[in-house]
Symmetry: C2
Subunit: 334 residues, 2 copies
């Protein structure tokens, strides 16, 4: 801005003190009706807008909340952001977004930028490649609260909110088995994510329960890029005994894998079946979507995350971190 009008300017033009203007603007009772009116009038006339930076400096807050997540273009995360934003705005906060692109260094940089830039708290969903928590510990040391959501960090004392993916995976695999599909492969995420472990655990549990031998080549990790997913899916199809069904880490992995299948002439939901996590809205546009998906309620997760963060910001002393588990839901499509 070229030169915004300040209280000082109003005071000067009215021949009063800045403190009088200050009080008049906040309708302090001890200000004469006449002066108050004159101040308000001139303020409006000069398009006076209080300088938020100055106010923040006094309040010792920025009213900025940082959100770091893998990719905004993934609908799961943009939905979560929407939820965070809705709550934040209602409480007078703004949301600053940063994307890690699943890259550790970028995540580290994003966190550092946020702290340098000034935020009152941070909400994070981990990059798939993040292996250590030093950057988060640093933030904790500064007394800036963090809440993890969905892709949460292991062994961190902060609040976090996530769904019970093991239970979700169990229900998903049970569903496949109930449909008579027993050659089930797992296209899992990167080993760095807790979410990957949880899916695996559910997968193993069900197969064991039904006495189905677990074939090592059936379990593969992808790094969440399209290329890697294609590679791993091709490997699965090249096996002597290719799987009848795939449990995919999420809808994006499922879609990329399904594309490979189609290219190889397989008919989805006939030659091969998919079940995945996320239940993203755009799957409803597919002619042959995964037969089932675990809804993870990103909106609810985002809402809960910010609801955990705000008290940590506004009343740090009485704040104790919480682990919140959001219920999942198996959505069957046919």
């Amino acid at each position: 801005m070229v030169h915004a009008t300040t209280m000082k300017e109003i005071a000067r033009q009215l021949g009063v003190t800045v403190s009088t203007v200050s009080r008049a603007l906040q309708n302090h009772p001890s200000i004469g009706l006449r002066t108050r009116e004159r101040v308000h009038e001139l303020a409006k006339q000069l398009d006076y807008v209080p300088n938020p930076t100055a106010i923040n400096l006094k309040r010792r807050r920025t009213y900025n909340i940082g959100v770091v997540l893998p990719a905004l273009t993934e609908q799961f995360f943009s939905m979560a952001i929407s939820a965070i934003e809705d709550v934040a705005i209602g409480k007078g906060y703004s949301v600053v977004v940063m994307q890690s692109r699943n890259d550790y260094e970028r995540e580290r940089l994003a966190i550092s930028n946020l702290v340098k830039h000034g935020i009152d708290g941070i909400i994070v969903s981990l990059a798939s490649e993040t292996q250590n928590n030093s950057h988060f510990l640093e933030v904790n040391k500064h007394g800036i609260p963090i809440v993890f959501f969905d892709r949460v960090a292991k062994n961190m004392p902060n609040s976090c909110v996530y769904v019970d993916l093991t239970a979700g995976a169990i229900e998903a695999v049970e569903y496949l088995v109930a449909r008579g599909l027993t050659k089930i492969a797992l296209l899992n995420g990167p080993g760095t994510l807790q979410a990957t472990d949880e899916r695996l655990k559910g997968y193993v549990t069900v197969l064991n329960k039904h006495g189905i031998a677990i074939s090592r080549p059936y379990v593969r990790s992808v790094n969440l890029t399209k290329e890697d997913t294609a590679k791993k899916m091709n490997e699965l199809l090249d096996l002597d005994e290719p799987p009848q069904a795939i449990l995919a880490f999420n809808d994006y992995v499922a879609l990329d894998a399904m594309q490979v299948c189609r290219q190889r002439g397989l008919v989805i939901n006939q030659d091969i079946h998919f079940v995945s996590f996320s239940n993203l809205p755009f799957c409803s546009y597919l002619e042959q979507p995964p037969i089932a998906s675990i809804e993870q309620f990103p909106y609810e997760m985002g809402t809960k995350a910010i609801q955990l963060l705000l008290p940590a910001i506004e009343d740090p002393q009485h704040y104790t971190p919480e682990k919140v588990i959001i219920p999942y839901q198996l959505i069957v499509r046919e």
Copy 2:
């Protein structure tokens, strides 16, 4: 934060002045090597982080850039945001997002919140329901620069960046005609958007050129909700002479309309053909995508938008608004 360490604290512990500390920290040449080292050492030891709010107060900047757009969950916009963020971060700015949800009041509120919250500039893509520009004029009055992108406002003096949709529509409709499809309907956006006029103009131009009569019932506006699109698509199919092809406002409209067609037993790309705008990545997952789409390069648009905004922030005097047109590209899928 409970109690961050300040320069004052460092100064106290070292028995020097705050200004000495300040200069030492920025490696001012006129500071004794010894003191400089002691200051840096203690700063690190006490986990000193400069208070950005105080710095911003002096610099008279917030280093925050506000972005207001219809919906983050639309991939077109999340891609644009990614671009904006990439450039912004490189220049030391952070991005604050607000969504209008295509609602005028929400857009108005978002703008007002941004100004109250403190931002150095704003990038906007209009809500479909926005009919007047008073809230933007207000911002202009405060000397805060605005750049419009994609859905730009009519009759505003600010910079803006958009694609030549008329030319795009022309090429798209020509493509349909060349394929022998002449009964072409237009599922257009809301009349409030300039982008809607432009598509219509292109549509009319081509039909006129080929001497194809324009049937009024073939041209419909949708408000960009799934329900309205379904309603209008059904109306088109209920006509005595239903269209062979649809030019859709964007991929979301196309997808919603295609869903209706499938439900009514039509085979996409056989009984009816679609061409749309945006060319969103997820269309590549469809078995029967629109046969062609106008790529609008959201990443390039976002990049250009912030490149127009930053000079306006950093050197207001020498800044003159620009209208930038990004080239489109017709992507043919088969």
